[in-house]
Symmetry: D2
Amino acid sequence: MIVVMQRNATAEQIAAVMKKVETQGLRTHLSRGEERTIIGVIGDDRPLDREQFEVLDGVERTVPILKPFKLASREMHPLDSLVPIDGLKVGAQKLAIIAGPCSVESRQQILETAFAVKEAGAIALRGGAFKPRTSPYSFQGMGEEGLQLLAEAREATGLPVVTEAMSPEQVELVGRYADVIQIGARNMQNYALLNTAGQSGRTILLKRGMMSTIEELLMSAEYILAQGNSRVILCERGIRTFEKYTRNTTDINAIPVLKQMTHLPVILDPSHGTGKWEYVTAVARAGVAAGADGLIVEVHCHPDQALSDGAQSLRPEKFAQMMAECRRVAEAVGRIV
Amino acid sequence: MIVVMQRNATAEQIAAVMKKVETQGLRTHLSRGEERTIIGVIGDDRPLDREQFEVLDGVERTVPILKPFKLASREMHPLDSLVPIDGLKVGAQKLAIIAGPCSVESRQQILETAFAVKEAGAIALRGGAFKPRTSPYSFQGMGEEGLQLLAEAREATGLPVVTEAMSPEQVELVGRYADVIQIGARNMQNYALLNTAGQSGRTILLKRGMMSTIEELLMSAEYILAQGNSRVILCERGIRTFEKYTRNTTDINAIPVLKQMTHLPVILDPSHGTGKWEYVTAVARAGVAAGADGLIVEVHCHPDQALSDGAQSLRPEKFAQMMAECRRVAEAVGRIV
Amino acid sequence: MIVVMQRNATAEQIAAVMKKVETQGLRTHLSRGEERTIIGVIGDDRPLDREQFEVLDGVERTVPILKPFKLASREMHPLDSLVPIDGLKVGAQKLAIIAGPCSVESRQQILETAFAVKEAGAIALRGGAFKPRTSPYSFQGMGEEGLQLLAEAREATGLPVVTEAMSPEQVELVGRYADVIQIGARNMQNYALLNTAGQSGRTILLKRGMMSTIEELLMSAEYILAQGNSRVILCERGIRTFEKYTRNTTDINAIPVLKQMTHLPVILDPSHGTGKWEYVTAVARAGVAAGADGLIVEVHCHPDQALSDGAQSLRPEKFAQMMAECRRVAEAVGRIV
Amino acid sequence: MIVVMQRNATAEQIAAVMKKVETQGLRTHLSRGEERTIIGVIGDDRPLDREQFEVLDGVERTVPILKPFKLASREMHPLDSLVPIDGLKVGAQKLAIIAGPCSVESRQQILETAFAVKEAGAIALRGGAFKPRTSPYSFQGMGEEGLQLLAEAREATGLPVVTEAMSPEQVELVGRYADVIQIGARNMQNYALLNTAGQSGRTILLKRGMMSTIEELLMSAEYILAQGNSRVILCERGIRTFEKYTRNTTDINAIPVLKQMTHLPVILDPSHGTGKWEYVTAVARAGVAAGADGLIVEVHCHPDQALSDGAQSLRPEKFAQMMAECRRVAEAVGRIV
């Protein structure tokens, strides 16, 4: 980091900052400008708490120079990581299209949808058994019974299963049934959950929080990686902004930004990103064109009976059309659907 | 809710919507305008999923009429709820000023600070033993040892203790040591934690998520209330906006809005709301003037050695001055510090 | 609109609202629910000020039912409008790719860039002569001399010219030299400018304000259309959000949303949308895939000497590559570059 | 500024950056860290365009060290500026409470309101003659006739007049009738208007744009100051965020932040800040407590007939009560109403 001193900082104040850096085993580099003096810190200062310096007398502010994450960074790991979902290597040429209902609601529903998305070309089945809902009065998911139905759908279709764990103690349970454990947007900074997910060694689908920065997403990935689990797939799913016509604002910029900053694969969720099924296909195409390594899409055979997220779910025939359109765009950018 | 039909909706489409409402045991009321037909739903439609209607053919959108929360609403419960912290009734004339360090760091640190904030007039001690941190490399709190030190500080000073639980399994442990269990901003929608907090019957300090609307904060309170625990104190602590000069944007509007919408007491956290100690006192005064029932403020005897949040912590002498200023403002609005 | 009454509204209060509606020549429709009474207004209530109703005793809130814009709406004008830029019809199959420097800086600079973008396949040349700059100390554009150089570049290359007018009195001047008059993001709600642009009868490129909703963009278009000028091209150029890694957040959702809501053509500006040249090509591809009718892209032969927006400008060879990639994506979605 | 080089930057790339700095007449200071090399620029680099450096090979990013504004900064001008409105010095102990209707609507309306706000203690009358409205179909103000009515109200009551100019050519006209020329939130970055306001030498009330940062507000003030006009009053009026329950989010932090960063006086607009009259008084009190130098408040004798902003207008008796409450809070913080 560098420490920017106030215009009128005294020699004693400058010396005090330098001394505090040096007592941490790092070196300093002083640069006196006409209006400001700045102190550069030489060495790996990531463990330092910058705030301890910001409150020293005479300090105006500090500026980080090093990125706060290491394991997730492409700088430290230049080659793309390929993360397995069953047989597929996510991050390689073939896109990972994951599809299914928001929630598992019944045996018939999940089986019918699983066959439909498989036929259209999805490589994995999504479906929630534990559902985080804003209202305590809303459907909260089928719980373990839902997990069993997902396992049955996998058996029937051969599709690997992606489903969410909402708390550390669910990780082991969900891991028994699922191929990929999803950490949802509301839990992106649930650190106990991230640590447990890291310890599980399973493939983790980590969704960006709706008001989390790209850097915070990578810091959350760092929690999982720091536990020795490098099987992390990142997911952009829209952020919260002042624009309310759509449920969220798909941050399409995040796709090329993440591909540059990290070696981890990145997929897009156009269902949550828009919140309305009419816009899902267009934004799915955009995600493929922008370089996403896959998509996760909500599909429901009867959206008007869906217990959650009906408005953003595609019917199977619309999903099949989306797949056809994305296939053409994928070819245009050198990928395969 | 009302269902707004598209301009060109057919009679069949209108009939289908009405039928779907009526099969849920509710009544409808049809209103044909010149450009739009709207269908009003009569009865308590909170359990209905509006999205199921939004995907019906011919529907443009739905508009909720009833507020989604009941137990938290002032409409259902017109009188102010007074929530106990030890002897004090939060929500009554005397303001609840809670102060202490971000994290418990050592025996000496917490005792020294506890005595200092008590002397300045704080009614409770805050301090984190379990800390949610963006980086896995940052100090994560002292854990149960921190709780023991907090208990010791209570013993020594008589101040009740407010401290955070980060996961459902910590609720029982934290509850053994603390008078008030805090649910932090990042966990405002950690529903497993909300449910456990509700079952605990303890006083809960529920902080607004940095990405959460006022209505979502009330829905999270509803989770706790729905478990039969009405001891909930709400806390505005700043929201995330485009403005980055301060760490967060204190939503001062939320104070009168919450006081109007709910019977639960509402306090303000000017430390997180601003992120810089220089602005804490001014925003604390503003909170009192706006009608807050209390404040929660970070105080540290040596901010330049704080393991977290040093930049937003007041030194004890600054805190004492803040108390003096808030006392005068409180009197001006008919409250007592 | 509908008027939602408070839970405890009296019969007199309800009658007063109905009377106020009826004195405006509109009819009402009363619907009594179990918890709320709502009053529907029948007829074109766009001219009513909803706020006049919100302050009546007993009123909780009002909800608009009709969209506030008419001329811009697809409902009133179902077919796509094709807006001319020189010979090209924007909104038809061929995409309008407009490119050039942020600012005109010299004769050599604009001619060199104009030939380069023409060779790569751009259909029009962009370049600012009047520049809105945050700082009074920054380069403010060459003024009329810049317009003359743009005219010279058109002469030399045959490319039509797109350039910005910043105030009503510049419209006539800019119109003398330019084929398309741009209204920039900071001026999207400069109503005097919108009116003058409307009166000019020229093709107008209206950029979305960084703080403006999609509906506000359409209301600003409505100002121009209401003056009898239907030659309006809309431009999404990124909105301001909490995410600061990129300069703005490209609202890719806005492309399909606008195509659904309005008959006007919609183009994307990936240069301002991202603010960094490294991400421009990926987001340009995304815009084409999402259904944009064109792109406006900043290109500079020497970004390290650019007097504005150097960081987001593509060098000509990168722009040529962008064109090649967008051409393939365009074909995949049935369009032509 | 400092230039942060990429991890793998070559000696040639570093030399090229240094050379580019030095050809601008500034000096450099090189600091080699373990992971990054940084180049400090010595001297006043405000005129440099940082983007020109960001596109050089091997550069990761640049970081500004100096604040971009000078004339508005407290660093350059430590003492508070007192800006006159008629006899009152805004910024001194007595608060500037400005009140009146959103729009001038009729002779009777403006006179009745002027007398009412005067009696309650306002020191100036506000009222718009030219109104920026989102919809072309809304009331756009009475124009010059409105200005004449304002002048008549001043004559009758002795209150100085604050009213908005929306374009450069209105400045002279508005200046003939008004004591203070307001530049509205939508025009905060209308640079032609800022320049003309600067040249007018009149007291200017500059409102913060709804999505403008504090620093951008100060840069806009710098435009006026750079024309030699130091009579600038800043106004916080709420920013646009994801929270939609209130019309805007009052950024109360901005009050102490601005008081620290600039010598110019700062007032608060709680009417636009909240958008609902029920919350205006609480937020007005908060503004006074936070250290604002005044308030600007919308008052209307008949909000249910107001042609604009009725929902956020106080009736005169509510305004009188607000004044009484603010008077007590003002005394508590050493100010006078």
